[in-house]
Symmetry: none
Subunit: 216 residues, 4 copies
DNA sequence: TATGAATGAGAATTCATTCAT
DNA sequence: TATGAATGAATTCTCATTCAT
C-alpha cells in the first residue's frame, strides 16, 4: 500500500539519479499539462528537464511509463491527503465535507495536476486508462466506505454506497473540469459551499444549520 | 427534426454528394469508435466509406473537422431527444427523471458512441475540447433551466441552478464512464433507479413514493 | 508568324467561349504571378476566373499548357511593341534606345507580366523553359539583326551581334529583376538614362551628346 | 578558407555528425541538380546520402532549409574565389576580366551547379528567392566597389557603379543561362573574349590592345 | 459547354525509440 | 549514467486530372 512511487528498477538509485528522476517527472507534468499527452514529445520533456532524450529513457522505459509514473505520484498525493483529512475529522457527518475540501483545495492550487487527472489521462491509451480507473475507484472506495459506515451508524438512510460515491466524485469532477476548461467559476473555492450542500443532500445528510467554517 | 445533419459548407451539395457525405460520416463514426481518434487514420475512414482519401478531404477539410462534424451531429441527436423528452413530460417533478432516462438509454444502446464522446474526445485537441465543452454546457443549461423553473414553481428549495445542473451532469457522466471503462454495472439500466433517487435528492425533489415505471 | 495566340482546338470558338478563354488567361496571369507556377493551383485559377475547374480544363488541356498560352500571349505583346518601335524609329542609332524604352516601359507598367517572364517561367518545367528560351531568342534576334545592320552601315565597330544582343538583354533583364524583387530603384524609369548609356557603350555606339527626350 | 561550410545550428556537432552533415549536403546537391528543386524528394536525398529520412531532418529542419544551406555553401565558394581573384590581380584595369574569368570557369566546370542556382532556384519559393537575390546583390556589390575605385583612380569615366555592376552581372548571367539552356555556345569559354570586350566597353575601360592571355 | 465531385499517387514531416560513444 | 545522433514507420494533406451529369 505504501509502494506508490514506482522505481523503474529494483536497484537503489544514487541520490543524484533520484533527484534527476524527480526533475524529469516535474518537467513531464508541465509538458503533458501544456500540450496534452499525445502532442507532448519526449524531446520537450527532455528539454524541460534540462537533460537529454537518452536521459529520460534511462529513467523511464517509455512515454507511457513516464505518464503512468506521474499519475501514480499525483494519485498518491491526493489519496494521502484525503485519507489524512478523513482521519483527522472525528465527526462522521463532517467527513464528506472534509474530503471535498481537500480535493477542491488541491485542484485549485495545482491546476496542472487537475488537468492531467481529469482531462488528459482518460484518452491517453488503454494502459493509462486502466491505471486512472483504478485510482478513481480507489478514491471512490474511500468515500464509499465512509458512506457505508455513516449508514451503519444510522446517520444517513439506505443507499448504494458505491454508486453514491461515484456520483459524488462525478459531480466534483464536472465542476472542477468546467472550472479548468472554461474558467468558471473564476475561483474554484466559490463553488465549494453550494457544492457541499448539494453533495450532503445527495448522500442524505441533513444541511448543516450552523456552518462555522465556511471557508474552503 | 430539422437541424440534425449539419452542413459545414454553405454550398448546396448534389444529392449524390450529400449521400456520400453521410456515408463518410457513418464510416468515420465506425472507425473512430473502433480505433480512437488518434489511432484512426484518414485512410481507414476513406476505405470504410468506400471512397478515396481525396473524397474525404473534399467533404471535410481535415481529420479534426471530420471529428467535429461527427460530434455535432451526435450532440444534436442527444440534445434533441432530451429536449423532446422534457417537453413530453408534463409533470415538472418528472422532468429530471425523463432526461436521465433518455441519456442513459441512448448511451446504453450506443456504447461505442458514448466511449467516443465521453472518453476519446477529451484528448483530441483543443478545438475539439472546446466544442465538447460547449456541448456539455448546452446540456447542463437544459437541466439548469428546468431546475430554475422548478424553483420558481416552489417545487424545490433555493439552489444555484447552474451548479446543481453541472453536478447532476457530472454524476451521470461519471456513472456512465465507469460503466464504459470498467463494465460495472454490467447493464447501465441497473443503475438508473438508484441514480435517479440520488439526483432527486441532490436537487431537493422529494422521493417518488410510488414509482410505477421503475424500468429504464 | 501571326499565329501567336494559340487556339486549343482548330474549331472556331463562340464569342462567349473566346471571352471566357481570355478571362481564364487573365486570371491565370494574376494567380501565377502571385503564387508562382508551382504553388499556383488550378483551383485558384478557376476561382479567379469565376469559373469551375472543369471549365478551365475545357479551354486548356492542363496547367502547363495554360502557362504556355499565357507566355505566348505576353510574348506576342512584347515582340509586337518592340518591332513596331524599331520600325517607327528611322534613325539607326536610336533603335537600341527605342527598344530599351519599350521594354522598360512595358515591364514597369506590367509588373506581374515581368515577374512571369523573368522569374517564374525559368523554373516551371522543361517544356516551358523551352518555350521561354525561344521567346528570349526571338527577342535577342530582333536586337541582333539591328546590330548587324548598324555594323554594316558602319555605325558601330566589329562585334558578335548575337552575343552582344544576349548581353544587352541580360543587362536589362537583371536591372528589371532587381527592381522586381528588391524594389530598387523604386521607379524603373529612373534607371533608364544611365542604362541606355551603358548599353550604347556596350554595343559601341557613341554617347548621345544632346539627349532631347530623356524621358522614358 | 575560413567560413565555407556554414553551420546553421549553433551547437557543436560531433565529428561523425559533421561528416554526415557534409555527406547530406553533397547528396542533396547531386539530387537537386539531377531532379530540380521541386521534383527532388527528401527520400531521394536520404537515400543518396546513405542515411535515413530522419537523419536528414535531424540536420536540416526541412527541404527548404536544406536547399538554402546548399545555396549558401556554393555562393560562399563563388564569392570567395572571385574575391581572391580580385585581390590577386594587381592591375586595376584587369580586375573585371579576372572576375569574369573566375565566374565563367567555375560555371563551365560545374554545369549542374550553375543550372541549379541560376535556373532552378528561382522557382523554389520566396525564402529561397530572397536568399538568391541577396547573393546576386553581394556579387554585384563586389563588382561595384571595384568600379567605384577604378573611377576614383580615373581609370574610367563617370558612371553609376551599382547600375553598371548590375548590368555586367546581368550580361554574364544571360550568356551563361543561354549556354545552360540552349547549349550555345557549346563551350562557354568561347564566349569569354568577346564578352570581356563588351563588358570593358560597358564600363568604359579601353580595349586591351595586346591581349597576351586570351584563353579563358 | 460547364460543373461539382471524385480520384489517387505522392509529398513532407513527425517522433518514439534505439544505440554508439 | 548520460548524450547526441540516427532510424524509419506512419500520417496527414495536396492537387493535377478525370468524369458523370
Amino acid at each position: 500500500m505504501a509502494q506508490l512511487t514506482n522505481q523503474p528498477t529494483s536497484q537503489v538509485l544514487q541520490p543524484r539519479a533520484r533527484e534527476r528522476r524527480e526533475r524529469i517527472l516535474d518537467a513531464a507534468l508541465a509538458v503533458f499539462t501544456r500540450r496534452g499527452y499525445r502532442e507532448a514529445t519526449m524531446d520537450e520533456v527532455a528539454e524541460a528537464a534540462a537533460t537529454s532524450k537518452g536521459g529520460v529513457y534511462f529513467h523511464f522505459p517509455g512515454k507511457e511509463a513516464l505518464f503512468l509514473a506521474l499519475l501514480e505520484r499525483s494519485a498518491a498525493l491526493l489519496l494521502q491527503r484525503t485519507q489524512l483529512a478523513l482521519e483527522r475529522t472525528p465527526d462522521p457527518a463532517g467527513k464528506l465535507d472534509a474530503a471535498l475540501d481537500v480535493v477542491l483545495r488541491l485542484f485549485a492550487s495545482h491546476r496542472d495536476l487537475a488537468r492531467l487527472f481529469l482531462v488528459e489521462a482518460l484518452a491517453a491509451g488503454p494502459a493509462i486508462q486502466e491505471a486512472l480507473l483504478a485510482i478513481r475507484r480507489r478514491f471512490a472506495a474511500l468515500i464509499a466506505s465512509e458512506l457505508a459506515r455513516a449508514r451503519e451508524d444510522g446517520l444517513i438512510g439506505p443507499l448504494d454506497p458505491q454508486l453514491a460515491a461515484t456520483a459524488c466524485f462525478g459531480a466534483i469532477y464536472e465542476v472542477v473540469t468546467q472550472w479548468l476548461l472554461s474558467g468558471s467559476p473564476a475561483d474554484l473555492a466559490e463553488a465549494a459551499p453550494e457544492l457541499r450542500r448539494l453533495l450532503r443532500r445527495l448522500v442524505g445528510l441533513p444541511d448543516r444549520s450552523l456552518d462555522e467554517d465556511g471557508t474552503l
